[in-house]
């Protein structure tokens, strides 16, 4: 709790968005979600359990994802998370906001920086 600085606050928002984005492809359990984010970010982002599960709970409380117990591909009992219609809308809103933010920051920082760090 105490370690959460303003940086972390911003990251928390983006983690939520990225989780939603991951679930767009289909239902997934915690481990898969973490793996997908790591892989797609070319192992730049590492998702810790410590932030993943609080984020998932938060999203579930807000009604953006729903969860159901199932079995994983490796036959383990896991909780699958699914994007709800409300979550889908939220994702669109967040992504939009994010793009505008990045563009704005890019404009301030100069064109070149944006191309380097921008979204694919």
């Amino acid at each position: 709790m105490i370690r959460e600085s303003s940086d972390a606050e911003m990251l928390k928002g983006t983690l939520d968005m990225m989780i939603l984005r991951t679930l767009l492809a289909g239902d997934a359990h915690g481990h898969t979600i973490a793996k997908i984010i790591e892989r797609t970010s070319e192992d730049f982002l590492e998702v810790e359990q410590g932030s993943l599960y609080p984020a998932l709970h938060r999203l579930e409380d807000r009604g953006w994802v729903s969860s159901v117990w199932g079995t994983s591909e490796n036959n383990r009992k896991v909780k699958f998370y699914r994007l709800t219609p409300a979550g889908r809308k939220q994702l669109a809103r967040e992504a939009n906001r994010w793009r505008r933010m990045i563009r704005a920051i890019g404009l301030v920082m100069g064109e070149g920086v944006v191309r380097e760090g921008g979204m694919g």
Binding site: H29, Q49, Y53
Partner: protein, 888 residues
């Protein structure tokens, strides 16, 4: 976070652990797949996952309302503290329960009687209109609002426009006899104009209300109230349309009123149309004040202008007819019903308020003492950075718990207390049912919270205030910091004692007033006297001779019974109520004082043996004779007060004449000169009221209507043993005649004092309880003081202080706040009782600053205080100095 997660935190945690478990397993499997050795795979997975315990804690917190969590913790802590001292807790809870239940019960009654609108359509536009005389005597509290004369009402209704409609009613009584030999019964009834129920907005539960053509002389329709419908007719709906017998005449039941309808009171069993049994002559009378007029203000018209119109008309009537009131006054239905109970209700409510305050102060005082024991803990915690709010919240929790538990049990208790009080309190309006509802519960809860705050905040604030760190700076328990705390306790105690003294004074005054009332001289014999009431039905006893024959036969039979010393028969016995009065003029001389109100006296009928049997002495003249009856009976006996008031001093009233223009009772001859044959001593019409001038007319004059008779029988032994024997004599003469109100004279008087007794007893009970609480407070404070000064006292004794010196020191220390509180209480009490008595005029024969009462209060309080101080002071003087000094 969400509520569902909050309540399912445990399950959520189990789920989470399972999820983490599989996460770990997946990670390990992946690592193994990448070619790592199993141990290494697990190690790396665990490193990556971090501390699972921390995650669980984070999520647990995320799923928790932190305020709730903290409150819960405080609650648990406070509960444990309270359970550790069960004696203290039980006493405190019991005190709060008593106080809150008393307050809630009284509030229930006040709410039902004074605040809740009556269950009628737009009840806020309904008023009761009264006549009002301008004379001085009429402006005493009992006579401000006069009942209305029928002719005035008919004029008002026809000629004023401020009211949508007006309806009139008067009380009546019938003998209800059964068709199949059921027992006869005397029932209270009301005669109401046809529009009464329409005006109130009441729909009969069965059948219909009266219609206009039914409201005329000789009409024989009747509306039953729910209670008589259930009780007498077994709730059989077929009774509607069938006849029932009232005074032997068949009346057709047209409807049954709903069960909740109890206006104007619950005694009324049935309603007949207003004019059904009224002589046409009666309807034209402007001076027969026995009606209640209900009116509905027209929408858009103010009550003031509507009543002003009626008042103007009334003044014209006053100019036109003699003896008619000058004005009309209106008040709300609720106010009208509450009338006499408002005063005692206010007094008791104040008493209960005081008691509640004392209860809070007591709990506060006990909590301050407890806070003292935790001084160091609080100091250390605030040194470590605890916020003041947190500390206060924690300390408040105890008083919240005490008041919560006390309040809940108090509400439960008050369910019974209210029922008992409503039952014991005679004359409480019954039109609104008295019961607890949402508003009352809300009040009780608010009271509970207020009490918790009042009792808890003061100690909590003082314990966490500026000097909170001081205990850390002194090594001794008896440090300087406790001085302010002791001061706090002493001031709390002073206030507590002050309020107790006020309550004691109020209780003492009420009690003395009640005792004075009880021993007040009624003016006649009261011991070993049985009274009963019967009413001769008009259709059967339609001639004066028949009435006289029955009455004489009864008197003869009763007087010849063994064990009966004498019997008196009249329409109203002394102390049985006001009933009726009539105006008169003295024929032989003009009014003594032309400006004074016209002569007016209570009207009574008496048989020749009445005065002898009741022991009312003759001051001059004689009683009636047996042949002063019917046409030869124009004689009157007057009371001493009448002579005093309306005859010049030294004038012999015997053989003078009183001219009575109109008798209040139908069938009595009007405009006749009555010759005064005797003067008797005064009797009171109601215990506690000043005697009023009385005119006694011969019973055998033969009044045929409104034939209520009261028989008083003086017996040689316990009068109640004779009740059945006397009733049997009546049944032998007329088996259909019901008898009611079989009571001894002492019971009649006791009955009329019931309410004074109730309020005196209740306030006394509150006062004694407060005294008890205050003495506990004194004892507590002094014990605490002693504990604080143990070392000091030990040193004193070691240095040679004598035991009695220590005793005196401690006693004086304990008594100082008592004296201060006593003085405070005496001053407040003197002001409060003066205000109370001047606005409420509730005391009888007792001055508000009654020295006996004040003296008794001072003595009682001092005695109790000394007793409460003695134990701790004695203990202090017996201290073993070595032990005492070693305590540190």
């Amino acid at each position: 976070m969400s509520w569902s997660r909050f309540f399912r935190r445990k399950n959520e945690d189990v789920d989470l652990r399972e999820e983490m478990q599989s996460f770990l397993a997946e990670e390990i499997a992946e690592n193994v797949a990448r070619g790592l050795a199993p141990e290494e795979a697990e190690r790396r997975a665990r490193i990556k996952l971090g501390n699972p315990q921390r995650l669980r804690e984070t999520l647990w917190q995320q799923n928790t309302f932190s305020l709730f969590e903290k409150l819960g913790r405080d609650l648990k802590y406070a509960l444990r503290t309270l359970v550790r001292t069960p004696g203290f807790s039980l006493i405190a809870v019991a005190v709060m329960a008593l106080c809150i239940s008393a307050a809630t019960s009284l509030f229930t009654i006040v709410h039902s009687v004074l605040m809740k609108p009556l269950p009628f359509r737009d009840a806020d536009r309904l008023v009761v209109i009264h006549e009002h005389f301008r004379g001085a005597w009429a402006n005493t509290p009992d006579f401000n609002y006069n009942p209305v004369a029928p002719a005035d009402f008919f004029d008002w209704r026809a000629k004023t426009h401020g009211f949508e409609d007006m309806a009139i009613m008067r009380y009546a009584g019938y003998n209800l006899t059964g068709e199949r030999g059921e027992l006869p019964e005397a029932v209270s009834a009301a005669a109401g104009s046809w529009n009464m129920f329409q005006l109130l907005g009441v729909q009969p539960a069965l059948g219909r209300a009266f219609i206009e053509p039914e409201d005329q002389h000789g009409s024989t329709v009747v509306l039953l109230t729910w209670s008589v419908f259930q009780r007498r007719f077994a709730g059989d709906a077929k009774i509607v349309g069938r006849p029932i017998h009232l005074d032997g005449r068949p009346f057709t039941v047209v409807g049954v009123l709903p069960s909740w309808f109890k206006y104007p009171d619950a005694r009324i069993q049935l309603w007949v149309p207003y004019k059904a049994d009224a002589e046409p002559k009666f309807l034209q009378r402007h001076d027969s004040h026995l009606n209640l007029v209900v009116a509905r203000v027209r929408p858009g018209v103010s009550l003031a202008s509507a009543i002003a119109q009626v008042s103007t008309l009334q003044y014209q009537l006053h100019l036109q007819y003699p003896h008619v009131a000058e004005d009309a006054l209106a008040r709300s239905l609720t106010e009208d019903l509450a009338g006499n109970v408002t005063k005692p209700l206010h007094i008791m409510l104040s008493a209960v308020g005081c008691m509640l305050l004392i209860g809070c102060l007591n709990v506060a005082n006990l909590l301050v003492a407890r806070g003292a024991a935790r001084q160091k803990e609080v100091a250390i915690r605030s040194a470590l950075g605890a916020q003041r709010a947190t500390l206060i919240r924690e300390q408040l929790m105890e008083s919240v718990l005490i008041c919560g538990a006390g309040g809940l049990s108090g509400i439960l208790l008050s369910v019974f207390a209210t029922r008992w009080l409503a039952h014991a309190w005679k004359g409480l309006p019954t039109a609104q049912s008295i019961h607890m509802d949402g508003a009352v519960i809300a009040f009780a809860c608010a009271l509970m919270c207020a009490a918790a705050l009042a009792a808890g905040l003061l100690p909590a604030l003082s314990a966490t205030g500026k000097g909170v760190m001081n205990p850390l700076q002194t090594s001794a328990r008896t440090g300087a910091s406790s001085i302010s705390r002791t001061g706090m306790r002493k001031s709390l105690l002073t206030v507590e004692i002050g309020i107790t003294v006020v309550l004691l004074i109020a209780a003492g005054l009420l009690l003395k007033s009640f005792l004075r009332l009880r021993s007040a001289n009624v003016g006649c014999v009261t011991e070993n006297t049985l009274t009963l009431k019967y009413s001769l039905p008009k259709n059967k006893y339609d001639a004066p001779e028949k009435v006289n024959a029955f009455n004489e036969a009864l008197l003869q039979r009763v007087r010849s019974m063994p064990g009966i010393r004498a019997a008196a028969l009249g329409n109203i016995l002394p102390a049985a109520g006001y009933w009726g009065d009539d105006v008169f003029t003295v024929k032989e001389h003009p009014p003594l004082n032309p400006d004074e109100d016209r002569p007016d006296a209570l009207t009574r009928w008496a048989d020749p043996g009445y005065f002898g049997a009741l022991g009312i002495p003759f001051l001059s003249g004689r009683s009636f004779t047996r042949d002063e009856r019917v046409a030869r009976s124009y004689k009157v006996i007057v009371s001493h007060r009448l002579v005093q008031q309306y005859f010049p001093a030294g004038d012999n009233p015997i053989l003078k004449h009183l001219r009575v223009p109109t008798h209040a009772h139908d069938g009595a001859p009007n405009d006749i000169d009555y010759e005064i044959v005797g003067v008797v001593d005064d009797t009171v019409y109601q215990v506690g009221k000043e005697p009023k001038a009385v005119m006694y007319f011969p019973l055998f004059e033969g009044v045929t209507s409104n034939n209520i008779q009261m028989l008083a029988v003086r017996t040689t032994s316990d009068p109640l043993q004779f009740s059945l024997l006397v009733q049997r004599q009546i049944a032998a003469l007329d088996p259909e005649l019901p008898v009611s109100d079989v009571l001894t004279m002492d019971q009649v008087i006791g009955e009329s004092l019931g309410n004074q007794k109730l309020s005196a007893t209740l306030v006394l009970a509150f006062a004694i309880l407060s005294l008890l609480l205050a003495s506990v407070g004194i004892y507590g404070v002094l014990s605490y003081l002693m504990a604080q000064r143990t070392t000091e006292l030990g040193i004193r004794i070691a240095l040679g202080a004598r035991r009695e010196q220590v005793l005196k020191l401690m006693l004086l220390d304990g008594l100082r706040p008592v004296i201060r509180g006593l003085l405070l209480g005496l001053v407040i009490g003197a002001i409060a009782t003066r205000v109370f008595t001047s606005t409420l005029s509730i005391l009888y024969g007792t001055k508000p600053l009654d020295p006996a009462v004040f003296g008794a209060v001072v003595l009682t309080l001092l005695l109790v205080a000394v007793l409460a101080c003695l134990t701790p002071a004695w203990r202090a003087s017996r201290l073993d100095p070595i032990q005492a000094i070693r305590v540190e």
